[in-house]
Subunit: 206 residues, 2 copies
Amino acid sequence: MDLRGCRAKYRALAPTLTSEVDALKVSYPLVMRGGLEIISSLASFAPVICDFKIADVPHMSAMIAKEAFTWGATGVIVHGFVGRQSVAAVCGEAQRQGGEAWVVVEMSHDGSAEFLTPASERMVELALELGAQGVVAPGTRPARIALVRSMVGHRLQIASPGIGTQGGDPAAAVKAGADFLIVGRSIYQAADPAAAARTIRQSLPR
Amino acid sequence: MDLRGCRAKYRALAPTLTSEVDALKVSYPLVMRGGLEIISSLASFAPVICDFKIADVPHMSAMIAKEAFTWGATGVIVHGFVGRQSVAAVCGEAQRQGGEAWVVVEMSHDGSAEFLTPASERMVELALELGAQGVVAPGTRPARIALVRSMVGHRLQIASPGIGTQGGDPAAAVKAGADFLIVGRSIYQAADPAAAARTIRQSLPR
């Protein structure tokens, strides 16, 4: 799909989802194909979180975050494992731009257990200390969400990916403490994305 | 700088560097501003390594690598800490596309010691096992390069960032075992980038 086709597809999808979602999350492949303009284009329908999983040295990480905010993103996602300086650089950029920084402390795929899980509690502490908006914890492992919730109380929000196609159960993630669910393919690859989003929403505990 | 200005600047810089460098490394901010076309544009002057520090779940990581190779990249850089599945997804994509995957095992900034250093030897093993072209190890800490070299022998190449502005000494990194030096601001922010690259090259042990 060319750039124009890519932008057109997601611009057409966005307005159908606004009553069903709190925000739209964009990843690198979409921005790589659609250009940074797609952020401002989608931001006219709902807040945009740039899930760039920023994982660079501090000055590059800040530069990436700045691009996202400049184009209208409400939040960016940064990896905790890159350590204090890079997370601080992104949190600082978010604060300067009036935006949100979300820190990945564990991921939704099995491989996350290899290196991330042993370090995740220290990354949660880093997110608390550096003034992040929230942390990203796996919707595929509700016990880990519950652990994070027990650590942060109401000081940080929790967004949980891996819901649907990757196997995460929406109700279980919310019961464990997730404030937001991150759902990708189960919505955008559905025949009726808005209906798919509505079904997930209706399955949640009130 | 608008997209056209960004592309024009780096296209003008590239041909002045071809006799001084082995490859051109591009990071996200450049692709975000200049579009993916900048990869093929620069690839007409020298092999391009996309330093996207890929750090996503497996299917997204493969998608990002595929975009880079499709636009003419010779190699992509992936983070080891995301675990076996994501690194395998990127190495697999590289093998399908006849390209190279480079695995970050430690970074050049101080924060790297926090979570990466304790896990880096296992990431080196992962890179060996999954058929990566090489690993990325910090030019700012020659002792860590030497450790990696002792582990991999000649089975993997080592590329070392953090040379120059970040404090890494070119000769010390090469003596410790680096095959390639990654130099950013010390070249592209220099008054005469080609001369800056030449000076670094001439300072290396033969």
